[in-house]
């Protein structure tokens, strides 16, 4: 029984050694364009308006694209000034033997509940996958309350007739001081002739893709 099993598997092409990217087949969707199957026609006028506002602003794919639009340019400069205000980093030389962590821009549109645009948001994130545990960071941690705790609290508040207040912190990650020595590359789009070949040494904990709780972006 065992031997026949072995023969069977041997006859199947062994693709486990081929890199994942090559194993994936190439799919083409152009013969079935999405416009043939999805349309706005069935929607009520108000819902149609809602859906098209959501889609009305394009999210830039790169920083170059973003800097061409005044709205996104403002979002980028807001993020930069928040980072500067918190003294997140200082520009320095890269000491020999150290590797800088790459970084990239993420762009999102914040919508209000009715679909209208609240604001455009640019977010600088480090490419956390280029970090190694023990070198660039020691531990990851995010204080997250259990949903049950929140439920109990709400029930208590309801029964005792307590007020419930809500606060949120801007740039929550930028408030902790960083112990480890971490360097990141100059954010794309901010390279100038004076900071060529230099890096940013991080002073504050910032948003790492590795520790970012889902739902924060």
């Amino acid at each position: 029984m065992e031997t026949s099993d072995c023969e069977n598997t041997a006859s199947v092409i062994d693709d486990s050694n081929i890199p994942i990217a090559l194993r994936k087949g190439v799919r083409s969707c152009t013969s079935h364009p999405i416009s043939k199957f999805v349309s706005y026609e069935g929607l009520s006028p108000t819902y149609h308006a809602f859906v098209s506002t959501i889609d009305s602003i394009q999210i830039p794919k790169s920083i170059e694209e973003a800097l061409k639009d005044s709205g996104w340019r403002k979002a980028v400069s807001d993020e930069i000034s928040a980072l500067n205000k918190n003294r997140t980093w200082e520009i320095s030389e890269l000491p020999p033997g150290k590797k800088p962590v790459g970084c990239k821009w993420l762009f999102t549109i914040k919508h209000k509940a009715d679909g209208s645009i609240e604001r455009l948001k640019a977010c600088l994130v480090a490419k956390g996958f280029t970090q190694s545990n023990g070198i660039d960071y020691q531990e990851t941690f995010a204080p997250v309350a259990k949903l049950n705790t929140i439920r109990v609290l709400m029930s208590l508040a309801a029964n005792q007739d307590w007020p419930l207040h809500q606060l949120d912190i801007k740039n929550a990650f930028l408030n902790g001081d960083l112990v480890e020595e971490v360097y990141i590359e100059i954010p794309p789009g901010l390279e100038t002739s004076s900071n060529v070949n230099r890096v940013c040494r991080l002073k504050k904990i910032t948003i790492w893709t590795q520790t970012i709780p889902s739902g924060m972006v």
């Binding site: 995010a142 309350a145 705790t149 609290l153 709400m154 207040h165 606060l167």
Partner: protein, 74 residues
């Protein structure tokens, strides 16, 4: 203030209570120890740049509606 990373409780000598819940960068404050709640809010505002969202309306994707009969959570 006592234990845990996410739930902080403080009681007054008169057994009034102030409760603070932390969810990453979101806080909920509740309790009947009102002067402590006010003090805590001020303290947090001094330490961090915060946005006071007033009474609880949305939290973690839940919509919270309040009436005299109780709290409705969707």
């Amino acid at each position: 203030m006592s234990n845990s990373h996410t739930l902080f409780v403080k009681t007054s000598p008169e057994k009034e209570i102030a409760i603070l819940i932390v969810y990453v960068d979101d806080f909920i404050l509740t309790g009947d120890y009102e002067e402590e709640l006010v003090r805590l809010k001020k303290l947090l505002a001094k330490e961090f740049e915060i946005k006071d969202l007033g009474y609880l309306k949305y939290f973690l994707g839940m919509e919270v509606a309040r009436s005299r009969k109780g709290i409705y959570v969707s």
